[in-house]
């Protein structure tokens, strides 16, 4: 990792930001197409070939709508809340590594905006700060459906964030670092068992943690089957009932960017990030592997939405506290025990 002038980091961050925004737009297209295929429909077909311009049309439509503020709303909180969701979702992406240091016409360039030494925790912290956008927006709307959605969101996120954090402890124990870059480098090693060379991806050594992480991540991003904060059959539209136009689109953007960031995060933590055949020699190949892994996670999200009905709220909380939390603690215990035995500190 080379030190670089701060403006290079800014350029990398700018590119990451724009790629995220564009991929978010096409994530909506991807989701609609995949859902349509699962439900034997066609999905968007009208704007452009295969409906490829549909995200642009949607964006124009949303921006052109009236920005309504309810009379009873707490105006400033109401205006600010969607921005918080959006900003938090984008900030989390700044520590995701997209590769190592590359040589760009003689200049060393790091393929990440920042390598924080607590990067993995940073993603969790920013994610938890983003919830304020949801619950404050819900409260400020002065609408009972919105408030109920916001309260559900608060309870859900607190519970599942605990599991998300605990599922990562095993990885921290094995890799000895909290930096996402460090975790990725650790996974690009290969373990030799006899003639076999197995990559050290943490999905192999931490399968239980991977499952827990996946469940908690879906809940954390308020996606089906954990989308109770916006359960339309009970709560009209949940926390964003009173939002329209541009501010609604900020919530929408935030949710989809969160999905993409969580998928990138999961690929980095469990699937080796950019690690794959040829990624050591060509950084573009590494990016391609990361892209494919992320698409796999995003497909999984859509697949879940197309398959599972929504949980009931008490089932959701019961699952978190009575099933997932003990499993996460068990995983930490076993991992720590094995680590101590492997280090020869126990016997």
């Amino acid at each position: 990792m080379a030190d670089q002038p701060i403006w290079v980091s800014f350029i990398v961050a700018f590119i990451v930001l724009n790629v995220l925004l564009i991929s978010m737009a096409y994530m909506t297209w991807f989701e609609r197409k995949v859902l349509a295929a699962m439900q034997d429909r066609l999905g968007p077909t009208r704007s452009g070939p295969h409906g490829l311009f549909q995200p642009l049309a949607d964006a124009v439509k949303l921006l052109g709508k009236e920005d309504l503020i309810p009379a009873a709303a707490d105006k400033w909180v109401f205006l600010f809340a969607p921005v918080a969701v959006f900003v938090a979702a984008l900030t989390a992406a700044s520590v995701i590594p997209f590769g190592g240091t590359i040589d760009f016409w003689g200049h060393p360039v790091n393929l990440f905006a920042a390598d924080l030494n607590v990067g993995a925790l940073f993603v969790l912290a920013v994610g938890s700060a983003g919830v304020y956008g949801i619950i404050l927006g819900a409260w400020a709307s002065a609408n009972r459906f919105a408030l109920l959605g916001g309260l559900r969101s608060a309870a859900q996120v607190i519970s599942y964030e605990l599991i998300l954090g605990f599922s990562l402890v095993g990885i921290f124990i094995l890799s000895g670092t909290l930096s996402l870059r460090g975790i990725m480098v650790e996974q690009s090693r290969s373990i030799e068992i006899g003639p076999l060379h197995i990559s050290n991806w943490f999905i192999l050594s931490q399968p239980l943690a991977f499952v827990l992480f996946l469940i908690a991540a879906v809940a954390e991003t308020n996606r089906a089957p954990f989308d109770l904060p916006e359960a339309e059959t009970e709560l009209v539209a949940g926390f964003h009932t009173e939002y329209s136009g541009f501010r609604f689109s900020l919530y929408f953007l935030g949710e989809y960017i969160n999905m993409i960031v969580v998928s990138l995060f999961a690929s980095t933590l469990f699937l080796g990030g950019t690690d794959g055949p040829g990624s050591d020699s060509y950084w573009a190949l590494g990016l391609l592997w990361l892209f494919l892994k992320t698409i796999a996670f995003l497909f999984f999200y859509v697949w879940l939405r197309g398959t599972l009905p929504r949980f009931r709220f008490d089932q959701l909380m019961g699952l978190a506290w009575k099933v997932l939390l003990p499993l996460a603690l068990f995983n930490i215990f076993i991992t720590a025990l094995l680590r101590i035995i492997a280090n020869g500190q126990l016997f």
């Binding site: 707490d74 924080l116 607590v118 969790l124 912290a125 994610g127 409260w139 002065a142």
Partner: protein
Amino acid sequence: MPWELIFFYVIGAASVLCALGMVLAKNPVHSGIFLVLTFLNVAGIFVMLGAEFLAVIQIIVYTGAILILMLFVLMLVDPEDLPSFSSAAPLQRNLSVLLGIVLVLELAAAIITRTSLGAVGPDTPAAIASVGGNTQAIGLRIYSKYLLAFEITSLVLTVGVIGAVVLALPERLGEKVQRRRDTISLAHARGSDGLLPEGPKGETPITVDPQREAALQSAGRTLIMTKDPDAYTRVGVRQGRPDETND
């Protein structure tokens, strides 16, 4: 270097202003928002001091969990039902002034010994770098020098958790508690009306259904009477609004 100084003053001023806003805001939810902003700014100061781990933990624990729970409560409580600050007992007020002065003196003593007297603490950047970073340094301290204090803290927290479990127990065990008004039961689908003779299950005991009203009349114990659903919809409506005087 001057850039760091400018950032520090901006973040410092923002955190002080947010802390003032937290104390001065009339609406408890606004106070909560200001407290969130204060915590975020303090986390920024931690990052500038090279204590990234503390910053992130501060956001995860305080901003992400504790304050969300507090806002959760504040949003459900009508601002009029809250006791005002001026109603605090004289003992409380005098004690708070005293403790405030002690805190300021402690901070001043710390600043004076570190700057004017030039006594550098044991945790110099070199000492921290030698154990591998601030995360490792904090871990070593907590699990060696301050192990006892750390374990006692976790014991206290466990007691808190057990207390919460006892308070939230379903009625069959909590039968001795006679009046549990306006409690929210997230975990029990039946609420706490399990002993009603008959009537629809799965709702809070609101007298909407004539059959249910009869059941309430003949019930053998004090029942939980929650407010009318419309009484809950004044959330976010500020005091003195015309629509509030109409109902």
